[in-house]
Amino acid sequence: MIVPASRLHAVLRGTPAAGHPPRWLVAAGLLVGAAMMLPVAYLLVRAVGSGGDAWALLWRWRTLQILGSTVALALAVTAASVALGVAVAWLTHRTDLPGRRWWTIASALPLVVPSYLGAFVFLAAFGPRGLLRDVLGIDVLPELRGFPGALVVLTLFSYPFVALSAGAALDGHDGSLEEASRLLGRTAWGTFWRVTVPQLRPAVTAGALLVGLYVLSDFGAISLVQFDSFTQVIYTQYRGSLDRSLAALLALLLVVLTAVVVVLERRTRGPARFHRFAPGVRRRLRATRLRQWTPLGVLVVAGLATLTLVVPVAVLAYWWLRGTPELADGSELWQAAANSALAAGLAAAITVLAALPVALLACRYRGRASAWLQAAVYSSQALPGIVIALALVFFAANYAPVVYQTLPLLLFAYVVRFQPHASGPLRGSLVQITPTVEEAARTLGQSPAQALRRVTLPLARPGLQAGAALVLLGALKELPATLLLAPTGFGTLATRTWGFASEGFFALAAAHALVLMLLATVPMVFLARRGIASE
């Protein structure tokens, strides 16, 4: 739909439809906001009330060491992911690489592989008694432990964040800018640095943020490669000691760390841009010819696809097939699959429902309540799953024992953890709806609620679906919160994979992992087809 210039500012600002938001919308929004704030608020209360011992323990040399190694790992993985992600995005979106469409999908698919699974597979394949040595007798690979192990595994399975957002940005680019640069005398190389890279920066930064947050909050992979990071230490502290104040303090410190990352990214990003309102016709740039470099390009994308997709599937399949006797009774596996689907499905539905008032308030009504709500949701981006889980464990154990280790509490954790996943695409959909269609519905006799149901929601459907798919994907893979909060006996594919893997039952772990990846492929394929995966 054409947006006339005179209404442009109104569209960008999101003009309030008839003044104040309806009360029910504000009430729903505040409820969601309060829920989002609960974990951190509780951790703060807990930290303030903790004894001097815990504080003394916190200010140890060891804490600083862990802080340093966590930050170093996050920086290294982010840098490596940016390099890899931009290269793959450029190869698949801007060159004549054969089979580009397939490689694009292949570069997104590693997101269905949880990082702990990646780590497990790599250890199982390349480890001291791993597959390669067992089957092929190869014994030249360095051990994937500690920092290098974490770096390799996390980079391989989180670079798609950068590849996806950079790819989307490259697609959206106005090719005539590059052409103008060439006509103004810049070389192809100079144009890439002076025009393409600056245009890519916001998208790459957004992707890098996701990678950074992923590393800071990762628990499974880091534990498996035996690297001491924050999440790992928090978990051992929580499991290993009776006084859990130190775990709370460490968790808060982690929140501060992630919050710094989020704020830094926000700073560099600047105000949001609405490219689609740019005047003039957008032109696609002619693909760069790779010529003699084609084999190298194919090698890069094929190598990555092998490491991130073929190897995991092959290794898992190998363990599964070899260990068939262990799997005589498959009913537990299907029970775990059903549990995973149930928890993730409910989480997706509830999270999207909760995201709705938040996104509506953000896009249609500005004001103090709306701004506060945005801050609350935005800050939850900085909450690693283990932090949310710990806070909820403490909270439930002390104040609400009824919900302790019940499905509702687990779902609550998912809703808080994945709120940004749902509200991002939803807001993206909502800002594309001109407020005048809602006003038109009002003048045609519809109440605000009716206008929402008959106009806004149908139009926001792509965002609702993408949000649900992202939450589904995240919740299926989620490990630390599920480990801590799942009801006793409620094994999910993620927790059982992790449990079996850490106990050395590789065949059982592989079976659960394969089913998990299969399940996670459903929302992933949906997202890839929608092309909204960049959110």
């Binding site: 739909m1 006339p4 209404r7 001109t434 269609v437 006003e439 519905a441 009002r442 045609l444 006799g445």
Partner: protein
């Protein structure tokens, strides 16, 4: 005469901007009222206040005799029974033409018949199953109009209804829309910055400047007797000549002209280009400096020996080249405003 819409002392402020400032007017039932003004003058805000999409800071709105807005009551937009045709049409992109038109009709009873009727009125029966993005700009506009008319509103509001259409389409559609509104017996208020549009369509024109309604009158009145210099300059082209008022006679570069109101002292004499007559005359008081040819007429630019520059509208046949000496004579109305 029944009053379909009455606005009294409407005011609305956005931050530092007084968008609407003490606006009062009435619209008679079945008539077409134009709010004319430059962009940013607050005319669209007035429309949105009437529709209930904005809340005024002060003032009263009465629609078909019942209070829609006052200090104490605010009827929500969905209960005002006002149709609004948006500048961007705001068609529902997820619904086809038929569903768009049927949107505001409650209950299945007679709904299909009414949709058919309105679609026929705007000549869109054939396109009922199309989606909005499969329609041309003119067709979209007619769908928007049909959608607004379908629930038989007491009042139809149109926000810059033709601004998104190209010039060729505009003229034809204007007349068509007026015919549709007349046939529906609808009272309509439309907002425009195009003076030609306002003058040619509306029964009554309200001229808005910087949030204030500065003049209300028929097209002829606001064109021939503008209330102020600013209004005169906004509506149509004008020549301004410095002059000296001595009662109803004013002395200026064109000689002594007669104005409707007596004035004493320095004044601006306002003369429309078509009120000036040009003739080739080697002893005339001006020189041709340029032409803008429009086909049905042309604007000839003349510099008087006093240095004053004038625009004169002549027939297409006037063919004096640039540099030719001409005589300029007043052959129509002149107005004067105190300087």
């Amino acid at each position: 005469m029944n009053v379909a819409l009455r606005c009294r002392e409407l005011s609305k402020r956005f931050g530092d901007v007084q968008a609407v400032d003490d606006v009062s007017f009435e619209v008679a039932e079945g008539s077409l009222f134009a709010l004319l003004g430059p962009s940013g003058c607050g005319k669209t805000t007035v429309l949105r206040l009437i529709a209930g999409l904005e809340t005024p800071d002060a003032g009263l709105i009465e629609i078909a005799g019942s209070i829609a807005q006052s200090a104490r009551t605010q009827v929500p937009p969905e209960r005002r029974h006002v149709g609004l045709v948006f500048q961007d049409y705001a068609l529902f992109p997820h619904l086809d033409v038929r569903a768009n038109v049927a949107f505001g009709l409650a209950g299945a009873n007679g709904r299909d018949a009414r949709v058919d009727e309105v679609l026929a009125q705007v000549g869109l029966t054939e396109l009922a199953r199309r989606m909005p993005d499969e329609l041309s700009g003119g067709q979209q506009q007619r769908v928007a109009l049909a959608r607004a008319l379908a629930p038989r509103p007491r009042l139809v509001l149109l926000d810059e209804p033709y601004s998104n259409l190209d010039a060729a389409l505009r003229v034809g559609l204007r007349l068509e829309v007026r015919a549709i509104l007349r046939a529906a017996g609808a009272t309509a208020v439309f907002v425009t910055h195009d003076q030609e549009e306002a003058l040619s369509l509306a029964d009554v024109v309200g001229v808005m400047m910087e949030g204030r309604l500065v003049q209300i009158g028929t097209a002829t009145e606001v064109y021939r007797r503008p209330a102020s210099r600013v209004v005169a300059e906004f509506i149509g082209e004008v020549n301004l000549l410095p002059g000296q008022g001595i009662g109803r006679a004013v002395v200026c570069d064109l000689g002594t002209v007669v104005v409707p109101e007596p004035l004493i002292g320095p004044v601006d004499v306002l003369v429309r280009p078509e009120a000036l007559r040009l003739s080739a005359d080697p002893r005339g008081q001006g020189v041709v400096t340029g032409h803008a040819f429009y086909g049905h007429d042309q604007i000839v630019h003349v510099r008087l020996d006093s240095g004053l520059r004038l625009q004169c509208r002549t027939g297409p046949g006037f063919d004096q080249p640039d540099g030719a000496r001409v005589r300029v004579q007043l052959e129509g109305d002149a107005l004067a405003f105190r300087r």
